[in-house]
């Protein structure tokens, strides 16, 4: 039972976000109406995903610097939970778009960028699965992971701002922060980001532990065969 407090915190925050997200007071705006509640889920999921991918890149850099295989485990599992959040972000965004823009997948540069971003990371998983040797797999996929993050940020955050997009913050639309983002929203939105990041870390941690157990068992098997 080591360090259980952040898991409890994660559950508490997520329940708070769900309850406050559905019941809490929100500003009344034209067109968006009640669907502004999706901010707590859709926008926060994307921010959590970017944070997790950034952390994944940091661990890849650490792996290349120090060569410890455990860093690569962390990097790959963080990337996996980030992809999971990315898919959830796409689904919640699709629901939102269906009601406010009238189309579940409008032809919007940010949406297409998000799809390409997920493709990049799916390619990362494919690259990982095509190596047998652990150290080789770790080294080459770390190189690709760093490269991928450097391309992912322009695709999702910079390029859509240069063109006309339906999303806020691009093509002359103002960003969220500048108006209509009142304190009621902030009280739920910021905890939501932290909650999702903690949830992603939890998911990654469970998978890392499974990996470590498997590795230890494999090694035990090899040594016991040697003894016989």
């Amino acid at each position: 039972m080591r360090k259980i407090w952040w898991k409890i915190l994660c559950i508490v925050i997520i329940f708070y976000v769900i309850i406050m997200g559905i019941m809490g007071p929100v500003p009344h705006l034209a067109i968006i109406n009640e669907s502004i509640r999706n901010t707590y889920f859709h926008v926060a999921l994307w921010l959590a995903m970017t944070t997790l991918l950034f952390a994944s890149m940091i661990f890849s850099i650490r792996y290349l610097g120090k060569g410890r295989i455990s860093d690569d485990d962390v990097a790959s599992e963080l990337a996996k939970s980030a992809i999971f959040f990315g898919i959830l972000g796409c689904l919640t965004g699709s629901i939102w778009a269906n009601y406010t823009w009238g189309d579940p997948w409008p032809n919007d540069p940010k949406l297409n960028g998000a799809a390409v971003g997920i493709l990049i990371y799916l390619a990362y998983l494919l690259l990982r699965s095509s190596f047998e040797d652990e150290q080789r797999k770790a080294r080459i996929s770390s190189v690709y992971n760093i490269f991928a993050f450097a391309v992912f940020i322009p695709i999702i955050y910079i390029l859509p701002r240069l063109t006309d997009s339906l999303h806020p913050g691009s093509g002359g639309n103002s960003t969220f922060g500048s108006y209509d983002f009142d304190n009621n929203i902030r009280k739920v939105f910021y905890p939501a980001i932290i909650g999702y990041i903690l949830l992603g870390l939890w998911l990654a941690e469970l998978r890392i532990r499974i990996k470590v157990i498997n590795r230890v068992r494999d090694e035990a098997l090899i040594t016991s065969e040697k003894v016989q």
């Binding site: 290349l64 390409v116 971003g117 390619a123 494919l126 150290q135 080459i140 690709y144 760093i146 391309v151």
Partner: protein, 225 residues
């Protein structure tokens, strides 16, 4: 130190050129690849080239260039035998190897896209209004494609199914560059003023710069395995 690296780069580029010259089938094969692809497109549109809208003309051209680039650069690490690679790595620094490969591949891409454009304009009609800007666009795209694909080719050559992996890894990564290039080329076709395209040019230049810096920093870790 820096002059040493420059010398190494120069020698390595010469080595690539002599190697290419000795086995001419590789380069002539790529040239034939571009020309036959263009011809297939020309025939597939059933010779009605006046019905080709500028957007289709532009997109088709860049897709041909993209596929040519992937095919031409995929071989840059796999064509040489394993033992010879180890020999190079024992002689020169990895930075010199990646920089020389990027420069050499940029030359190849410039040649291929230039020839491709001439032939494409010859059979499909030339729709470009501002040749100067379009040439700049070809130039930036050749360097950008070459630098992205060189590192990806290095990554893919380490795996077994490198042909599939090359396409899967490079297409999503090259997409922002491709979209910017297509937009810049469209501006050039419409003959718009250069000041309209400064956004695209600076974005392309900065993507090129990021990619080349990353290749320079990351390649030493790649070749060790």
């Amino acid at each position: 130190m820096s002059s040493g690296i420059l010398n190494e780069i120069k020698t390595l580029i010469w080595k690539e050129i002599t190697l290419e010259w000795r086995q001419k089938y590789a380069l002539s094969g790529m040239l034939l690849y571009v020309i036959s692809t263009v011809f297939v497109c020309y025939l597939s549109f059933n010779l009605r080239r006046n019905q080709l809208t500028p957007i289709v003309w532009n997109t088709l051209f860049w897709i041909i260039i993209l596929f040519t680039a992937v095919n031409a650069i995929a071989k840059s690490f796999s064509q040489e035998r394993y033992g010879r690679l180890i020999y190079y790595y024992s002689l020169c620094s990895p930075q010199a190897i990646i920089i020389s490969k990027i420069i050499y591949n940029s030359f190849i891409m410039l040649l291929l896209s230039g020839m491709g454009f001439i032939f494409y304009a010859f059979v499909m009609g030339n729709a470009v209004g501002d040749m100067g800007l379009f040439t700049l666009c070809l130039f930036l795209a050749a360097i950008g494609f070459a630098s992205v694909l060189t590192l990806v080719a290095g990554i893919a050559s380490k795996a077994d199914n490198s042909a599939t992996l090359m396409a899967v890894l490079s297409f999503p990564i090259i997409l922002p560059m491709m979209l910017m290039t297509i937009r810049l080329a469209k501006n050039a076709m419409d003959g718009l003023d250069w000041s309209v395209s400064t956004d695209e040019i600076t974005t392309l230049l900065s993507i090129d710069l990021i990619v080349i810096t990353l290749s320079y920093l990351l390649f030493p870790y790649l070749w060790r395995s």
